[in-house]
Structures are given as structure tokens and as C-alpha cells.
Chain length 156, copies 2
């Protein structure tokens, strides 16, 4: 499988999960190209600004770039444990673009996932999944097999 994948995780709302983002991104590479690899770049800056290039772009340019990548992608994978406006925004835009969506939530964190994210699950092309890291391989495999099947179906 060789998909173009849009990964979302919290940047300015908190980098507590940056290590997990990095590990998910590294697993996603088995399934294709991660268009937003910068989300995983670990950093020491207090603000959570991740990498040099990000700092050189204006917010409006970041938005333009991300929407362009979102339109380009064949699937969106979001880690949604850390509440983030940006991640919510990206998921909202991806729903309208009818992209296959996988949202990954760790209940072990004790947080409660937004009803608007939980509520878009449809067991088809939008999957909201409670996970622990040891489940990730199976969850990703299952999701991308679905994406594959949907693409084959659409080609017919």
C-alpha cells in the first residue's frame, strides 16, 4: 500500500504527546507517505513550535499549506487525546472533503473525547478508535485495508 497520509496531532495546544505522534508517524510510513511529518518532530521549545520551517511561515501560510495537503491526502489519521483546536479544525475540513478518517484516542489518559469527534464514527470511512499503543499495528492495518478496498471500489 502506498497512500498519501495526513497525520494530525496537537502542536500549540500542548506537546505532551509528541513522542507518541512520532511513533505513530513511523508506523504510518509502512502504508505510504506522511505529508505532515513535522507534527512529530520533537522539540524543546516551550511554545511547542516544532521545527524551523514552521517558524518561518505565517499562520495564514500554515493554514494554506495544511488545507492543500488535506486536499491532496488519501486518508487522515489524527491522535485526538490532547484537545487541540487545530486537530478539530482539520477533522472538520476532512469530513467535508469526504476523506477516510481514523481518530485515535487513549482512554487511559482519563480525558473524555469531544462528542463532535466521537459522533462522526460510522464504522465505514470514519473510525473513532479507543486504543492503547500495543493495539496500534492492528488498528492501522485494519484501517488501511479499508481505505484500500474503498479505493478499489471507487475505481470500478
Amino acid at each position: 500500500m502506498k497512500f498519501e497520509i495526513y497525520f494530525c496531532g496537537s502542536i500549540r495546544a500542548g506537546r505532551q504527546d509528541a513522542e507518541i505522534y512520532r511513533r505513530i508517524i513511523s508506523k504510518l510510513k509502512k502504508y505510504g507517505t506522511v505529508l505532515t511529518e513535522f507534527v512529530g518532530t520533537n522539540d524543546d521549545s516551550k511554545e511547542g513550535e516544532s521545527h524551523t520551517k514552521e517558524r518561518e511561515l505565517s499562520d495564514s501560510e500554515i493554514h494554506e499549506r495544511d488545507i492543500r495537503l488535506l486536499e491532496q491526502c488519501e486518508a487522515l489519521v489524527a491522535e485526538v487525546t490532547q484537545p487541540s483546536l487545530g486537530v478539530g479544525y482539520e477533522v472538520g475540513r476532512a469530513v467535508v472533503l469526504k476523506k477516510p478518517i481514523l481518530c485515535l484516542f487513549r482512554p487511559s489518559c482519563g480525558k473524555i473525547l469531544s462528542a463532535l469527534i466521537r459522533g462522526i464514527h460510522n464504522e465505514e470511512d470514519i473510525i473513532i478508535k479507543d486504543y492503547k499503543e500495543s493495539d496500534l499495528d492492528d488498528t492501522l492495518q485494519e484501517f488501511f485495508e479499508k481505505v484500500q478496498k474503498m479505493q478499489e471500489k471507487n475505481k470500478k
Copy 2:
């Protein structure tokens, strides 16, 4: 002015700002009907689930109701200081629906606003505003005058 207004604030991601939401909602009533008044309802529950009716709906029903109200509204006002997936999601959907948007952010909180929210500001129908509570009356007045003018222009 008598607009149908969609107000967004964090629910499950944290109710620290619930009192501010309530005060904003009470100011919004000067400009019309707030379709999502339940966002301001103060509560004592740890989870931040605000009111009885909300608790009776499934997440999928909450999502359906909110999208219906979003389509119905003439303007969206969001308090975006507390990072929230749900608020980000609503803003993303509202952008696609071409609704006039006002996002209110309090820099005094020491947080940094998402680039994807900051980046949609266009000085026209999408306004991202750094505010303190004493500015609110002027900010809302200015925004709804813009909405009014846009509606009049569209009628012509």
C-alpha cells in the same frame, strides 16, 4: 439586529471558562437568538457535561443537532482560549459553510492560539480577535454590524 447565532466553547475539554461563556452568551442575546445556549450552562460535574438534555443524547445525535444548528445560524462566535477539538471542528465546518465567524482569544491566559485558527483571519467575514473582557461590547458590536452589512449586500 436579530440574528441566529451559534456560540462555541469547550465542553468536554475543560469547563474552566464556563463563566466567561455564560457572560458572552448573555451579551450575544442583544444581537439575536443563541442557538447553542447550553454551552454556557454552568455545572458542577467533573466531566463538564453541561446539562441534562446533553446527557440524554448520543454523541452521534449531538453531532447531528450541532451540524443542523450550524447550517441554520447566520453567524458563529467561538471562545477559543481553551483548546477544544469540538470548537475546532465547528469552526472548520463553519468555514466551509461560509458563515461569518468571530473567534475570541484571551492572550492574558498565556496560551498560544492554533495557527489554523489564527490563519483563517481575513478582516472581512472571518475575524480572529485577541480580547479582554472589557473589550467585548465593542468587539461584538463591530462584528455584528459587519454581519448586518454583509446580509444587506447579499440581498441586493
